[in-house]
């Protein structure tokens, strides 16, 4: 079933319940609560997915509207029904256990929004009503994000807090506050009823649309680079999987050496494309393998003509440079050394773990001017961690 069909079913379900409530008891608040419940259920299926950050559903915003609309027990009931409905209709995760865990996580996040709003609102009675409402809404909008973050940390068994993609959190928090304020107004002014949340869904949907496109193009771009990196392999010029193995190794070594995320991204791209130059140079007629420096030069020239790939081109060019003592002071050269060592290691070990130790020894035995010992040390640590080296 397509996503828009599932969204429509959830929204229509909320609408049908609202209609039933209104017909059986005209003027009942349950009609509005049913509509909000429908929005929460549908909002579960629309997630903001900024790069490098776990997805966050826009239902968190409607939960803040719900929190302001009604008391804790009614809100809990609406939440339960809405999340159960979305649990039945969501496409992912497929595994039942993970689906139930996600349901519990989202229920905890929604309840946190409701409880925090009422707690804060009651605690801030000494302030002006405008400030009181805004602070309570702010706290309520942040609460589900904190719950989701704690759930992620538990799931991934980590204490690291998400640092990237936090702009999505900001968009969600401000939109949630706008929705709740426009729904009920402040001091009897500016109340739009449920039209408010509808209207202030627009910027949130605009953010969702942008993130979806960004996510798609990031994936396409990454796949394009990886596909091109595989071209020399498909042409039988290098061993299968060489580019991917070297990329994984360089990233691990760069992480070990304290490189930044952006440096690691350039290094990974360079590793994936470091044999691209080979496809552009003439094959030696005597059957010898092509010159490594010529391959690096040709590959670097291709990449340098594109702004985003130019740093990767510099790294590939630096791969062919002889080792110098001040390599650590020049990031491009240092990255080039990492790439050179990772690539040489993969060629020597033929991509096999059981030959890793011998390959590392061979690199250490090479003339001192060829490979940077500091970088070789990083390789050794990475291999040791992967269990490639036998314990001493």
């Amino acid at each position: 079933m397509k996503r828009w069909v599932r969204l429509l079913i959830l929204l229509a379900g909320g609408g049908a319940v609202a209609l039933g409530a209104e017909l059986s008891d005209p003027g009942t608040p349950w009609a509005a609560l049913a509509l909000i419940g429908g929005a929460i259920a549908a909002g579960e299926l629309i997630e903001l997915r900024p790069p490098l950050r776990a997805a966050i559903p826009i239902s968190f915003a409607y939960e803040v509207v719900l929190a302001r609309r009604t008391d804790v027990s009614d809100a809990a009931l609406v939440l339960l029904v809405a999340l159960l409905a979305s649990l039945l209709l969501r496409a992912e995760p497929i595994a039942l256990e993970r689906r139930l865990l996600l349901f519990l996580e989202r229920l905890a996040a929604g309840l946190a929004a409701v409880l925090v709003f009422h707690g804060m609102f009651d605690a801030l009675t000494s302030l002006s009503s405008r400030v009181q409402v805004l602070l309570a809404l702010l706290a309520a909008a942040v609460a589900p994000l904190i719950v989701a973050e704690i759930a992620r940390m538990l799931r991934e068994r980590t204490l690291a807090i998400t640092r990237h993609g936090r702009s999505a959190d900001l968009a969600l928090v401000t939109s949630a506050m706008l929705m709740a304020v426009s729904d009920q107004g402040v001091n009897g002014k500016g109340a739009m009823g449920l039209w408010g949340p509808v209207v202030f869904t627009i910027p949130l949907l605009a953010a969702w649309y942008s993130y979806e496109h960004l996510d798609e193009i990031r994936r396409t771009y990454s796949q394009t680079i990886r596909a091109l990196g595989a071209a020399p392999e498909l042409g039988g010029m290098v061993r299968d999987g060489h580019a991917e193995r070297v990329a994984a190794l360089t990233v691990a070594m760069a992480h070990e050496l304290g490189f930044s995320r952006s440096e690691m991204e350039h290094l990974e791209t360079a590793a994936l494309l470091h044999h691209l130059g080979q496809v552009c140079i003439d094959e030696p007629e005597d059957g010898r393998p092509p010159d490594g420096a010529a391959i690096a030069h040709s590959g670097a020239e291709i990449l340098r003509s594109t702004e985003l790939l130019a740093p990767a081109g510099d790294i590939i060019a630096a791969e062919a440079l002889p080792y110098r003592d001040d390599a650590r002071a020049r990031p491009g050269v240092m990255s080039g050394q990492i790439l050179k060592i990772a690539s040489a290691f993969d060629e020597l070990s033929e991509g096999r773990n059981d030959r890793g130790e011998a390959a590392l020894e061979a690199l250490y035995s090479a003339p001192a001017y060829l490979y940077d010992e500091h970088v070789l040390g990083a390789l050794e640590i990475v291999l040791d961690r992967r269990g490639v080296l036998s314990p001493t």
Binding site: L178, G190, V198, I202, L214, E216, G235, T306
Partner: protein
């Protein structure tokens, strides 16, 4: 336009109680100011845009205030009034703005209005957002400003990042195509022309923008597998040995394999020589591989290659028609021929853009890698 519509609607709501036209005029005048135009001292454009925004704001105010009145109006009526005011704003804006565009571009006024309206209509939801911001401002005051700016700016930033990465993706593909064409000087511009011919066919089939875009990328990258073919073979004048021909043909498999590794292009990375030829255009089978196959063959026939000179357009059309329904998808053949004739364009012998210099001049006709092996008898095509 989105920011201007939003600002205008906020002004209409905020100044509604007093019908303060001067406020609306000021908002309209300021809405037309563009920093880039002021910096370039393009005062005529600044004056035109400001005046236009001012007029559209007044028209929208007349509609909105006329329907909504000054106070005590239900929100549903306000939304209806805003919707109509937005339509009025859009129509006035498009019809006036189209005048100078139509005059300077030489396009008909009617089609210009249609295009400008189509471009501006994406900003229409901002009418309702402006209404919401205006009403919320009445209750919340200036607190609303950061609260509305944050999500809008974040959405714009994310979209800007998307556009930036999209441009990078295009650049990457262009760079690789340049690298590919540097390997084989006879195929200069081939990928771009195949993309253009594919676009002609897609237009005939009324493809939507995203499907057309996917087709364009696939057409640009259809020969990307040639990266793995040695330069010497691609540029070898005359006939290839069987082993060499096998190595050249490897590029077709590699191209398909590379496209399949990209999710976006995988559905159109089909076999271009068998089922594609009979693929239906009704959507039951993706017709894109067949489109690219026909476009590729047409460009190959009408371009000079190392193994033969360009054929005439008439000969190429004849060959396409001959293979229609068997080697080539008949609907794609008809669509391409129709589109080229309707445009009055001419390709092939006598119409090639690039001059060629040969160490060994290629024959007038011959075998090749674009499915043209059957084109001429071997004894004619095998002259070294």
């Amino acid at each position: 336009m989105s920011a201007n519509v939003l600002n205008a609607m906020v002004a209409l709501v905020v100044f509604r109680a007093s019908s303060f036209y001067l406020g609306v005029v000021v908002v309209g005048l300021c809405g037309g100011l563009e920093f880039a135009q002021i910096r370039r001292r393009e005062w005529q454009k600044v004056a035109f845009n400001s005046s236009l925004d001012c007029i559209t704001c007044i028209v929208a105010a007349l509609v909105f205030w006329g329907i909504a009145g000054n106070s005590g109006t239900p929100v549903a009526v306000l939304i209806g009034a805003a919707a109509l005011a937005g339509v009025a704003d859009l129509l006035v804006n498009s019809s006036v703005l189209s005048l100078p565009i139509s005059i300077t571009s030489g396009q008909s006024y009617r089609s210009t209005v249609f295009q400008v309206t189509k471009f501006h209509v994406s900003a229409y939801p901002y009418v309702f957002l402006g209404l919401g911001v205006g009403l919320t401002y009445l209750g919340l005051g200036l607190f609303i400003i950061p609260m509305i700016i944050v999500p809008v700016v974040i959405a714009r930033q994310a979209f800007a990042s998307y556009l930036e990465l999209k441009a990078a993706q295009e650049n990457t593909i262009e760079t690789l195509i340049r690298a590919l064409e540097a390997k084989d000087k006879y195929t200069a511009g081939h990928a771009q022309r195949v993309a253009t011919f594919s676009a002609y066919i897609a237009e005939e089939f009324a493809f939507g923008p995203s499907r057309s875009e996917r087709l364009r990328y696939a057409a640009l990258m259809h020969d990307i597998g040639k990266l793995v073919v040695p330069n010497q073979l691609l540029n070898k004048p005359g006939r290839l040995t069987e082993a060499e021909f096998g190595r050249v043909r490897l590029h077709e498999t590699v191209s398909v394999e590379l496209l399949r590794r990209i999710d976006f292009l995988a559905p159109v990375a089909g076999d271009t020589t068998t089922e594609a030829a009979t693929a239906a255009v009704d959507g039951s089978v993706l017709v894109e591989p067949a489109i690219i196959h026909v476009a590729d063959a047409f460009d190959a026939m009408t371009s000079t290659r190392s193994y033969r000179k360009a054929l005439s357009q008439e000969t190429a059309f004849e060959e396409l028609r001959k293979g229609s329904g068997t080697q080539f998808n008949s609907a794609c053949v008809d669509a391409l021929i129709g589109a080229i004739l309707r445009r009055g364009e001419a390709y092939g012998a006598g119409h090639e853009v690039d001059d060629h210099e040969w160490a060994v001049a290629p024959p007038e006709a011959g075998t090749g890698s674009a499915g043209l092996g059957h084109l001429v008898p071997e004894e004619q095509g095998a002259k070294p």
